[in-house]
């Protein structure tokens, strides 16, 4: 064995497994992209034919890309937009690594916005950097608190987190609506009648400085330090998942709860910790809207980022690096809505269809790629076996007493 190991290590530089895995994943993503583009083209042609609009796929796709790469402000928007998406997708993927589905990022981020607003309006005596940190902290705490409920219910009663988190979303929407209309409501003391429900404006000390001006960018979503924070968070999450105990335990629980438990890992503790981390990340989703763009919490806040985060997480195959790229890609598509409308006759809703196609093809392609990877791993492993002593890999599809016809007990 030592000889085998040494030989492999020496040749390790030739083809390390992790590199092959990434290569395989990249291939899968590109294939999925290609399929989505292809299917999208079919829809464009069908739509054109059906409604006499007369657009061709190339023009359409070019128009979409123009929105982001045609001018600096467009690109700035894509970057700024990516920040909240990264937080949202990271929140989803953290739980997913542990085998759970946190569909409640939407509710957690909304509550996080409320608690962050509360902090901004209460701790006004703090100077700028401290107030910003306090605001971030309260945002995370709000998200964590909201995520704790379904987590505890799951661990104590077994209630499935998919349904409970979604219900919590509904409750959050109503709760925050009440908060905006009640305790934190903005009374315009200038005597004017305020039509739009919202909170008081936040003190300047709470706002996050703009970065776009450094590059001459003024985009509708302000490019600010939030993006850097998001990238940093992604890197931190990578480290947590791969190099820290909690990440290790989470992956073990997600991949094989029985083996993890028999090994002494407490499944319930891991699940709750994951949900709390997830909630904290979710609580940061709204920071861009509130503390870089708007300056207050409006009743008509931009909702839906929690769900988009799920899409981005799937697109990025739930790895922090993939998520960053997926968030950027999503931003390009979102920005493409406007340019599509301006430059072509395709309805802007085509973008949503394209996004849907992309998610579906990524999910399916990923599944197929995973199976082919297994088959290849098994073939490789068999080749290593000493011929004199070769044994059939236990999982080579069915073998004695452990067939895939449900016989692995």
């Amino acid at each position: 064995m030592a000889a085998v190991e040494a030989g492999t290590e020496a040749r390790g530089a030739r083809r390390p497994e992790w590199l092959e895995n990434i290569g395989g994943q990249l291939l899968a993503v590109l294939t999925a992209l290609g399929i989505a583009v292809l299917l999208g083209s079919i829809i464009i042609v069908a739509y054109s034919a059906g409604t006499g609009v007369g657009e061709d796929p190339i023009t359409v796709y070019r128009a979409i890309l123009n929105g982001s790469f045609g001018d600096k402000n467009g690109f700035g928007y894509v970057l700024a937009n990516a920040g909240p998406l990264i937080f949202s997708a990271l929140a989803v993927s953290v739980c997913f690594k542990g085998g759970m589905f946190n569909i409640g990022v939407e509710g957690q981020f909304i509550v996080g916005m409320a608690t962050a607003s509360f902090a901004a309006l209460t701790f006004t005596f703090l100077p700028a950097p401290l107030l910003v940190l306090t605001v971030l902290l309260f945002g995370m705490l709000g998200g964590m608190a909201w995520a704790a409920v379904p987590a505890i219910l799951k661990v104590k009663t077994g209630a499935h987190e998919v349904v409970t988190t979604i219900m919590m979303n509904g409750i959050a929407t109503s709760l925050v609506a009440w908060v905006i209309g009640g305790p934190l409501r903005y009374e315009d003391t200038g005597g004017g009648f305020n039509v739009n429900l919202r909170t008081d404006p936040f003190p300047d000390a709470a706002m996050i400085p703009d970065l776009g001006h450094l590059f001459g960018i003024r985009s509708s979503a302000r490019l600010s330090w939030v993006l850097l924070l998001a990238l940093l968070t992604a890197a931190v999450m990578w480290f947590v998942l791969r190099r820290m105990r909690i990440g290790f335990e989470a992956r073990a629980v997600g991949a094989s709860p029985g083996s993890a438990q028999a090994g002494g890992i407490s499944i319930g503790a891991v699940q709750i910790k994951l949900f709390l981390i997830s909630g904290a990340l979710a609580g940061l989703v709204g920071i861009q809207q509130l503390f870089a763009d708007q300056g207050f919490l409006p009743a008509g806040y931009e909702a839906g980022i929690g769900f988009t985060g799920i899409a981005v997480a799937f697109l990025g195959q739930k790895s922090p690096l993939g998520i960053v790229f997926a968030a950027l890609l999503w931003g390009v598509l979102a920005r493409g809505e406007t340019s599509l409308q301006l430059e072509t006759d395709m309805p802007r809703e085509f973008i949503i269809i394209l996004q849907g196609l992309l998610i579906i093809s990524v999910v399916v392609t990923y599944q197929l790629a995973k199976r082919r990877l297994f088959a290849r791993q098994l073939r490789r492993a068999a080749a290593v076996e000493d011929l004199r002593d070769s044994e059939a890999p236990a999982d080579a599809g069915p073998s004695e007493g452990s067939g895939d016809e449900g016989e692995v007990r």
């Binding site: 064995m1 909690i246 992956r251 083996s259 090994g263 004695e400 067939g403 007990r409």
Partner: protein, 510 residues
């Protein structure tokens, strides 16, 4: 030798089924390699080989569950393509799998008639009536209206056989049928098989239990690593010869047990209650191997889980030395010195999708040696550990970065053993430790277990294989319905053990 002579007169009958040059491949392995085999009417044909030899796969090809990659199958003189179980059944071929495929919430009659209900509307009484008549005609005792979930293992097996007979099969394939039966139930089964044979049916008996094969078979075909290495009959061979054909070299059936003076009591289990446990008590001393014999389903899994803290208890104590472990977390139990080799290495042993080095450190990942206070893992140290374990236990793999899924069953078990024994435990709890392993791996595992005893540790062995119990144990206890029903020395005859395994309370033997 054992076999009844009934089949002898029919040796000249022309074959019913001929599998000619059949091959079957899966990613990374050739399961069947150019196999030629024939089946005659009115015979019991045994198909033997060690785990991984290809016996089940070959019969699954015959039953239409897998398409063959090469070769032909001829039934009653005509070459056929069997693309699904439906085709096989239409040709008169039926199969009873090693792990039963019954729908638990359905009745016996529903299970038997599923797929052949006789019309779009169900008539439960008619179905039950028909099933009862069929069962009686073969001397099977079964209640067609019973819910399968409530049946015993032996009864479930009868339902499986009835499923095949209901469809008028002439050839009945049984895959390791006695793995889950007590000695008495095995005798009942053989009675039924003889009756079927007398009726002109063909039985294919897949097994690795040589004593039984010699007792019931008319002809024996031996497979090794996917290929046929011999065909013989009980009159022409011995158990040792068969074993040698199966493995390719002479096989020892007993290893030398080291003589060790048993020390203090390390583990005492007292009146455990909960789930399938109904007042179980036993004790294990340092330097001794206690074997828990019993048919699956009598509380083995629950006993192991209870000791490891994986299952809540309604009552009872588990004492490791002076410490009561009932209610303590699994992590603490492991830290206290119990190592666990689980019966299901995929569900409770390894995380298949994680790498070997990650698997090597599960359970010890929070030791100071492998992770710091802040929670950061010392990857380099962990990989060193993994390399050492893999080296010492000769786990064959391309690299430690491969996932556990790529290891063969024997290598997976070796990795688990390596990991668990590294903790220098006071007690080794091993449940079905050699299930699904080939002879080489079995010898290795047995050697390791005996080594633990030689080093003065306590071993609690839970196994459904009597061979293993006899080979390793210093003391044997029998488990039935969640209680210990008898204690024996390794010299006790199997029939006595068998009786205790069925609940007959036996006086303590010497």
């Amino acid at each position: 030798m054992g076999s009844d002579g009934d089949g002898a007169g029919r040796e000249s009958a022309s074959p019913l089924v001929v599998m000619q040059g059949v091959s079957k491949r899966f990613p990374g392995v050739v399961a069947n390699d150019d196999v030629t085999l024939d089946l005659r009417p009115g015979e019991v044909h045994a198909l033997i080989g060690e785990n991984g030899a290809g016996k089940s796969t070959l019969m699954r090809v015959l039953y239409g569950l897998y398409p063959p990659d090469g070769g032909t199958i001829t039934v009653r003189g005509r070459e056929v393509k069997i693309a699904s179980p439906r085709d096989a059944i239409a040709l008169g071929i039926g199969m009873v799998h090693q792990h039963f495929v019954l729908v638990d919430p359905f009745t016996v009659a529903e299970n038997v008639t599923l797929g052949d209900e006789g019309g779009p509307i169900l008539h439960a009484e008619d179905a039950e009536q028909r099933v009862k008549i069929l069962a009686d005609s073969y001397g099977f005792h079964i209640d067609p209206a019973a819910i399968v979930e409530d049946l015993s293992v032996g009864e479930e097996q009868r339902v499986e056989i009835l499923k095949a007979l209901y469809r008028g099969v002439d050839i009945l394939i049984l895959d390791e049928p006695t793995a889950v039966l007590t000695p008495a139930e095995t005798n009942d089964l053989f009675e039924n098989l003889r009756r079927l044979r007398a009726d002109g049916k063909t039985i294919v008996f897949i097994s690795h239990k040589l004593d039984e094969v010699l007792a019931i078979a008319d002809r024996i075909t031996v497979l090794r690593r996917g290929a046929v290495v011999g065909e013989t009959s009980p009159a022409e061979t011995t158990k040792a010869q068969l074993a040698e054909m199966m493995v390719g070299r002479p096989v020892l059936f007993r290893l030398d047990k080291p003589q060790v003076q048993a020390g203090d009591v390390v583990l005492r289990v007292d009146d455990l209650r909960g789930g399938r446990l109904h007042g179980l008590s036993l004790e294990v001393r340092a330097g001794e191997i206690v074997g828990v014999a019993g048919v699956e389903g009598n509380g083995q899994r629950e006993l192991a889980n209870a000791i490891m803290g994986l299952q809540p208890l309604d009552g009872g104590h588990i004492l490791l030395g002076d410490r009561d472990l009932a209610g303590v977390s699994t992590e603490e139990i492991r830290d206290a010195g119990i190592a666990f080799v689980p019966e299901d290495r995929h569900e409770q042993g390894l995380v298949l999708d994680m790498t070997l080095w990650e698997n090597a450190v599960i359970g010890r990942h929070d030791d100071d040696e492998f992770s710091g206070r802040g929670g950061v893992l010392f990857i380099r140290k962990i990989k060193e550990l993994a390399r050492r374990l893999i080296d010492e236990f000769d786990v064959r793999t391309r690299s430690i970065e491969s996932t556990a899924r790529t290891l063969s069953g024997g290598n997976q078990q070796k990795l688990i053993l390596a990991r668990e024994l590294e903790t220098d435990p006071r007690l080794l709890l091993a449940a079905q430790p050699t299930r699904g392993l080939d002879v080489g791996a079995i010898e290795f595992v047995w050697g390791q277990i005996l080594q633990q005893k030689a080093e003065g540790r306590a071993v609690l062995l839970i196994s459904a294989e009597l061979d293993e119990i006899y080979a390793l144990s210093d003391r044997i206890v029998t488990l039935y319905e969640g209680r210990i029903t008898g204690e024996f020395s390794p010299d006790a005859p199997a029939e006595e053990l068998g009786r205790a395994m069925l609940g007959g309370v036996v006086d303590r033997a010497s």
